[in-house]
């Protein structure tokens, strides 16, 4: 099953790549690298059709969604050592054609003017622990959530580092194990922060690495069935970390547009691994009804919360 899914993923990406390639063949020149400082100073890109200088040099797509691409015939400069500049430095400076050449060397101008990325995420974590069957017949736990990121740093060569904040929720109930429980529910809210470093591979494709850390607030509610009905409730807050890498497929050439003036749509596919302490599944009574005899309740063992994960996200970046 997993192998078939992997194949499906592979073919889906290939198919998408082919389609995207067919559509992105129209531009005759590759878009200019946003981080190449010299072209930005020498030949600033147009922001809109009205400002664009040699109209034939750009295709219609560039006109509608201006990029940081250099004019046709411009010679690329050899790349120097990685430098840090503001993401929108080239574009904003490029509007002023009379501006003096920028000084050489990396520099950080502003961290608050990069692109903002909002994403709707589907994060799936494989629970390798059989105890998860208490809550779900599948060993895949799906978390739905949202996240927002900000392109904070850009490096020569195309690397962009973006911090993210997000939240996701997982919910599972009614697995096949321990049918003695009439209610078996696990709900967890995951609050996280992350750093994503991405690198453009093509106008529509990026690779990235991502490190996430956060807190999982997990609640487990169990109810025994039958005559001896009882409710048990467990709550746990624990740190968790994810390390992953993946690909971003997005609408082409949106990257170089000035922030706030273009809209890129895309989706991410990330594979990684989650590390988190195991969750102790205890039978803590939700209500104690004045027992005279002390009660020792069993525990259901520890549910491992570590495992491989796959994150899918649909995002907008503007």
């Amino acid at each position: 099953m997993k192998l078939e899914a992997s194949k499906a993923l592979f073919f889906a990406i290939i198919a998408f790549s082919a389609g995207a390639h067919a559509q992105t063949q129209t531009p005759t020149e590759p878009p200019a690298a946003l981080t190449e400082e010299a072209p930005a100073a020498e030949a600033p890109p147009a922001v809109s059709a009205s400002v664009a200088s040699p109209a034939p040099a750009y295709d219609s797509q560039v006109e509608l969604a201006p990029s940081g691409g250099k004019p046709k015939g411009a010679q690329p400069h050899p790349l120097s050592a990685p430098r840090v500049i503001a993401l929108n430095e080239a574009s904003s400076k490029g509007l002023d054609t009379d501006a003096p050449a920028k000084p050489k060397g990396p520099r950080m101008i502003s961290v608050f003017k990069g692109a903002v990325r909002t994403s709707l995420d589907v994060n799936t974590v494989w629970n390798l622990d059989d105890r998860y069957q208490l809550f779900d017949s599948s060993d895949v736990n799906v978390r739905l959530g949202v996240s927002a990121g900000y392109d904070l740093l850009s490096f020569d060569g195309g690397w962009v580092v973006a911090p993210e904040l997000g939240w996701s929720r997982e919910s599972a109930s009614g697995g096949p194990n321990s049918p003695q429980f009439s209610k078996k529910e696990l709900v967890a809210d995951h609050f996280f922060g992350a750093f994503r470093a991405r690198y453009p591979l093509a106008s529509w494709l990026e690779s990235f690495g991502r490190l996430q850390g956060g807190v999982a607030w997990t609640r487990v509610d169990l109810e025994s069935s039958g005559v001896g009905f009882n409710q048990y409730s467990t709550e746990d807050k624990a740190p968790e970390f994810q390390l992953g890498a993946g690909l971003v497929v997005r609408t082409p050439d949106a990257e170089s547009a000035p922030p706030g003036e273009s809209l890129a749509l895309g989706f991410t596919l990330e594979a990684g691994y989650q590390v988190a302490p195991a969750l102790k599944l205890k039978l803590d009574r939700a209500v104690t009804d004045g027992q005279r005899i002390s009660v020792l309740t069993s525990d259901l063992g520890e549910l491992s919360r570590s495992g491989p994960c796959l994150r899918l996200g649909i995002f907008t970046r503007f």
């Binding site: 899914a5 059989d130 599948s138 005559v227 009882n230 749509l265 005279r292 005899i293 069993s298």
Partner: protein, 542 residues
């Protein structure tokens, strides 16, 4: 340009693929448990729906954690292995599993499970649904009941499997190589057209200088003798009465063994006679596969309906006491002389005991004769009864009783005495009858005391009425001071298990809970709730 629907169809496709990647685990069925069993210091709970046993340790520090053991498919019946010496014999539970008709590797079996979770699995050739143990726990015969619980399409009711529990399982292939018998041994008992009703094991008999046990297979009017030490030899099938349409059936019910004279006494509910089988040795030196004994049949005329029989006395004073309703019969086992003793109250049951009487301060064999539903019991002094007849009978009147629970005296206890508990109907409680003093102590109760559990270790009776929140103990250790004690629990009672032979004498009371809930009490101080604890969740699977 990218079209939006096409663009988002890709992640949707991926999401679908990912969600389909999860593999389902083995499904667990809703649990359904056989009645719990007590080993020396472990409680055993058998989940027949999920083929597993939970072993709960009730010694030492109590925890709600169990050792979970996988069992062969479809356990349908479980018994504690019997023992004449619990301290020396293995403490095991015997579990009969029906297997799975649809899975060739999952055959019917008997599992001997000890408290450490170790198992010996004896594979069976048929899906039997009934087990009978010898009193010493050595032999186990598995057979078909009338109910056919295993629900098989075809089965031979005369087929049995005989397991020697002191030996490991031995399959056909192993046995062929060693030229030995398999374990279990499969046999089909000849029945002259009728299926076996029950099986009774003899105590060890010395036949031809060799100690051995016999299995006596009872049919309605046929009996089969099987030498358990030589299962390669054929059984004897003895027809007690000619089979004919007109002849009434004997309906064999009861078997007694005379180990001194190698005799077997048989009683049928519909026969006025007692059948005696004499086991005599036979020389078969040249025919090793033939039985080295031969049975001979004799009949003792009792007359009337014989309800119960009991053997007492040593040879040559061996006597058979028969409860025959309004009379008791004393039959000389050698001369067949019958003495009829009119009883002051009709009796259908006999309880023999060794003890004194209010008149005679010597310990000798006496009998209590009673009839369930009656309001009388009759004491019968068996010494010189053939001469003294009804002068040896004494009637004791009390409330109508439905159950008689013999309370075995604690061996070696200074206050050892013979007592029985008679449970009365409804809310009348119980009567404790001192068999030596012939006195009665009435114990009143707010509930029906059905199912009292005698405790030889603490010399008393535990009472745990179902679905009541209370457990009681009637302490009989001092006949002059009978003190019922009780404790109120937090949950209604379903079962009571005694662990009073363990180092830490405890009582486990189970409660109705799908997760497993039980209260463990200190047996010697029931009311000390600081020593009590309720364990919860021990029946949850891993």
């Amino acid at each position: 340009m990218f079209s939006i629907p096409r663009f988002f169809s890709i992640p949707c496709l991926l999401a679908l693929g990912v969600s389909a990647c999860g593999s389902s685990g083995a499904k667990e069925n809703p649990s359904s448990f056989l009645p719990p069993l007590a080993l020396m210091d472990h409680a055993v709970f058998i989940d027949r729906e999920n083929d597993r046993a939970f072993l709960l340790d009730v010694s030492g520090n109590l925890t709600p954690h169990t050792n979970q053991v996988r069992l062969p498919k479809a356990p349908i019946l479980a018994q504690r292995r019997l023992s004449l010496d619990p301290a020396a014999d293995p403490d095991e539970v015997l579990i009969l599993s029906a297997g799975d008709l649809d899975a060739t590797e999952s055959v019917p079996s008997v599992t001997a499970l000890n408290k450490r979770g170790e198992q010996r699995i004896y594979k069976l050739a048929a899906a039997f649904d009934s087990m009978v143990q010898s009193p010493d726990g050595r032999y186990l015969v598995v057979k078909f009941s009338q109910a056919n619980v295993a629900n098989r399409l075809l089965f031979n009711r005369n087929e049995v499997a005989i397991i020697d529990l002191t030996q490991p399982p031995k399959a056909q292939t192993e046995a062929s190589e060693a030229d030995e018998l398999t374990n279990p041994v499969d046999r089909t008992i000849r029945g002259l057209g009728e299926p076996p009703e029950s099986i009774v094991f003899s105590p060890p008999l010395t036949i031809n200088g060799e100690e051995r046990q016999l299995a006596v297979v009872l049919f309605k009017q046929v009996v089969a003798l099987l030498d358990l030490k030589h299962l390669d030899r054929p059984e004897f099938t003895i027809e007690l009465a000619a089979s004919s349409v007109d002849a009434p059936s004997i309906n064999l019910e009861q078997v007694l063994f005379d180990t001194q004279e190698n005799k077997v006494y048989l009683r049928g509910s519909a026969s006025p006679d007692i059948y005696v089988i004499q086991i005599a040795p036979r020389d078969v030196q040249n025919e090793p596969n033939k039985n080295d004994f031969v049975p001979s049949l004799n009949q003792l005329g009792g007359g009337g309906q014989l309800k119960d029989i009991a053997l007492y006395g040593n040879a040559p004073e061996r006597r058979l006491l028969v409860a025959a309703g309004a009379n008791a019969l004393v039959i000389d086992a050698d001369s067949n002389r019958v003495t009829s003793i009119p009883l002051p109250s009709p009796a259908t049951k006999i309880l023999l005991f060794e003890g004194r009487s209010p008149q005679v301060d010597t310990r000798e064999t006496r009998a209590l004769l009673y009839s369930l539903g009656s309001s009388d019991v009759v004491f019968l002094d068996l010494s010189q009864i053939e001469d003294r007849k009804q002068r040896n009978a004494e009637r004791l009147k009390l409330n109508s009783y439905l159950e008689v629970i013999p309370l075995k005296p604690n061996v070696g206890a200074a206050s050892a005495s013979n007592q029985v508990m008679l449970r009365h109907a409804g809310l009348l409680g119980a009567s404790i009858v001192d068999l030596e003093k012939r006195t009665v102590n009435a114990v009143s109760s707010q509930v029906d005391l059905k199912g009292g559990t005698p405790d030889a270790s603490l010399n008393g009776v535990w009472v745990a009425p179902s679905y009541q929140n209370k457990v009681g103990f009637i302490d009989l250790s001092d006949p002059n001071k009978i003190q019922p004690k009780e404790v109120r629990l937090d949950y209604p009672v379903t079962d009571l298990l005694l662990f009073t032979q363990a180092a830490q004498q405890r009582v486990l009371v189970t409660h109705d809970s799908s997760l497993g809930r039980a209260t463990v009490l200190k047996a010697t101080d029931l009311r000390d709730l600081t020593q009590a604890v309720t364990l919860e969740g021990f029946l949850l699977g891993e």
